[in-house]
């Protein structure tokens, strides 16, 4: 169930005919590789599969689904699938944006806090200032993009590691958003936003759902899959995608060939900020509450999902589908732990192990890429 609903759709975008350039290592060069290092057809197929960024995540997804499917058979019902996809969708939107940034060789830690603070900003504008929901959403999106621009600008101008820049942005946002909210509203949880003008159309866009069997499938899944498909297309089929891969994999070459490194980096940072805003908005509209508890949205999970999905921390390698599979894997594990009736704390440990395995798999992939004949 999880499979049929979640997997094939994002896969469609990047797969067709064009092999991922990075992973293309094996991507369709049987002839040429055979010339460099003769190998049997079986071995070549193996190479090709191993070189796909999402391979490890697919294997992990199958393993985890089988494991929890046995532990908690409810997982494989429509309700279970809906729960998994719901978790995966919110995470997957953020992981997708973070994954694209990883491919370009940068990290954004502030995305989770952008989600929280844009939800708070929307809540304040609606609840305290009496704005309609749409103007409030537009304003908070503008604010989020501003944060993204600032992050990107600092990174391209100063050359500081994006890890530190966005960590600083995370802290500043966390303090500012919570303190401002408390100063203005007297609390950090803004409830009862459902009376705002335009709320019904906002619900249609961000919180509608379809019932299928005993599962409620939310529109966030559509957002997630749609964005993943768009990003996959953009990565393999557009100039922007070429630029993203080149910037992450060979920044000097990209500069020398006149690839707009700065503009692309700014775009990607704006992308993560917008994704943060979308995640915050999806949550806000669903529960008609803006909750300033930062522990609700730890940024690191987006990163974890993207890395599990095969995005290399050093850049130049990864895929949109990979981040989706990583998010799905995360969703299955999280929901599976709950359904199996385990202490939810086990999930953390499990996630850590998963991340470690993913990193090791990444490392193997990287040595394989290096091992591709250089001379």
């Amino acid at each position: 169930m999880v499979w049929t609903l979640g997997a094939p759709v994002p896969e469609e975008a990047p797969l067709p005919s064009s092999p991922p350039p990075g992973p293309g290592t094996a991507g369709r060069l049987p002839g040429s590789r055979a010339a460099a290092a003769p190998r049997g057809p079986g071995r070549r197929l193996l190479d090709r599969t191993l070189a796909r960024p999402s391979t490890a995540a697919w294997i992990g997804l199958v393993a985890v689904t089988v494991f929890f499917g046995v532990q908690a058979p409810d997982l494989l019902t429509a309700a279970g699938a809906a729960g998994v996809l719901d978790t995966a969708a919110l995470l997957g939107i953020g992981a997708l944006a973070v994954g694209l940034l990883l491919i370009a060789g940068h990290i954004d830690l502030s995305i989770g806090m952008v989600a929280v603070s844009s939800a708070l900003a929307t809540g304040l504008l609606v609840g305290e200032a009496g704005w309609g929901i749409w103007p409030a959403l537009a304003a908070s999106l503008a604010g989020a993009l501003l944060v993204g621009l600032l992050n990107g600008w600092l990174v391209v101008r100063t050359g500081l590691p994006s890890f530190l820049v966005t960590l600083a942005a995370h802290l500043v946002l966390q303090g500012t958003a919570l303190a401002l909210t408390r100063a203005i509203a007297g609390r950090t949880v803004l409830q009862g936003l459902g009376d705002a003008p335009g709320w019904s159309s906002a619900r249609a866009a961000f919180d509608s759902s379809v019932q299928w069997g005993d599962g409620t499938f939310r529109i966030s899944i559509v957002w997630w899959l749609g964005l993943t498909a768009c990003a996959g297309w953009a990565l393999w089929r557009t100039r922007l995608g070429n630029a993203v891969f080149a910037i992450g994999g060979a920044r000097r070459a990209a500069r020398e060939l006149g690839v707009p490194v700065q503009r692309t980096t700014l775009t990607l940072f704006c992308g993560t900020a917008a994704a943060g805003w979308l995640v915050g908005t999806l949550g806000l509209v669903r529960i008609t509450t803006a909750d300033g508890d930062p522990s609700l949205m730890p940024a690191i999970e987006f990163l974890v999902a993207a890395v599990i999905g095969g995005c290399l921390l050093t850049g130049g390698y990864g895929s949109a589908v990979g981040t989706a599979v990583g998010a799905l894997l995360y969703g299955v594990a999280r929901f599976g732990v709950t359904l199996a009736g385990w202490d939810p704390l086990w999930f953390q440990a499990f996630l850590g192990v998963l991340l470690l395995v993913a990193l090791l798999a990444n490392g193997i992939v990287r040595t394989r890429l290096r091992a591709v004949p250089l001379s």
Binding site: S18, P19, P21, G22, G24, T25, G27, R28, L29, G31, S32, R33, A35, A36, W233, R237, T238, R239, N242, A243, F245, A246, G249, A250, R252, A253, A254, R255, E256, L257, G258, V259, P260, G316, Y317, L369, V372, P373, L374, S375
Partner: protein, 267 residues
């Protein structure tokens, strides 16, 4: 300053100064690069060769002085602008992104596209075609445009870089000699490409630390030392041995430049 060439210079530097921090990497350098001529820029490490390349290719903007293209001041905001104007560069690292396929590398930064607006996408068929065609022109056959550049041998990478520069550089070709040691075949192939470009009437700028190689292919020799022009010679002025000696020591360099100044007062 500008040597009296029959043809007007394609690329010209006028009193160009570039500083890295407080150090002047180039200090009031003037040079003219004429069409159909191979001009060799020679100098030790740190003499400003790389900075000269990055000024000519649009990566660095001169702080003082100006860059002229066909006699008109040119302001390249990026190497993309320079390539658009027909000035292409072969960088000393060859600018190859190993994880990208050969055709993506070939077109990187100047990809052919189809469609308009948000649906503008890479024209992959055209890109593959042009890649295969241009690679064949420099004698690189049997390379699948879809294979990643990491599978290319060093010589093939150089071919890729040269084919790319020849394709995009319609006016001038700037070649920064690879840092990595090359095979004789590699050097020969690069030399052939330079001569072919000269025959097509391009202004060719070869930046190298190897005087013998420079003398083999070059028509003019611009000597750089400490970010300044230390000599501007033609083939008639020097033989390969004296060019080598010039590279070796500053004293001899200045002595000979003095001699040349006397024999050629217009320099």
């Amino acid at each position: 300053m500008t040597s009296p060439d029959p043809a007007p210079a394609v690329l010209e530097l006028r009193r160009v100064t570039v500083r890295h921090g407080s150090v002047a990497a180039l200090s009031r350098v003037s040079a003219a690069f004429a069409p159909g001529t191979i001009s060799c820029v020679l100098g030790e490490n740190g003499s400003g060769k790389s900075t000269l390349v990055s000024v000519l290719s649009g990566l660095t903007r001169p702080e003082e002085g100006e860059l002229l293209l066909d006699g008109r001041p040119a302001r390249f905001r990026s190497p993309r602008d320079a390539r658009g104007a027909g000035v292409a560069t072969v960088w000393n690292d060859l600018s190859v992104a190993p994880l990208l396929s050969v055709w993506r590398n070939f077109c990187l930064g100047a990809e052919p596209t189809a469609g308009i607006g948000p649906l503008r996408r890479l024209d992959r068929a055209a890109a593959r075609d042009v890649t295969a065609r241009e690679l064949a022109k420099v004698g690189l056959r049997g390379v699948d445009p879809d294979q990643p550049a990491s599978t290319l041998r060093p010589g093939e990478r150089q071919s890729l870089a040269i084919a790319r520069a020849l394709h995009f550089g319609s006016r001038a070709l700037v070649v920064d000699e690879p840092v990595a040691p090359r095979s004789v075949a590699g050097a020969t192939q690069a030399g052939q490409a330079l001569l072919a470009a000269r025959a097509r009437g391009l202004a060719v700028v070869l930046v190298t630390a190897n005087p013998r190689y420079a003398h083999l292919v070059g028509d003019r020799f611009l000597l750089l030392a400490g970010g300044q022009v230390a000599g501007d010679l033609t083939r008639e002025d020097v033989d390969a041995d004296s060019l080598t000696r010039l590279m070796a020591g500053d004293d001899e360099l200045s002595a000979l430049t003095e001699t040349v100044r006397q024999t050629h007062p217009d320099r």
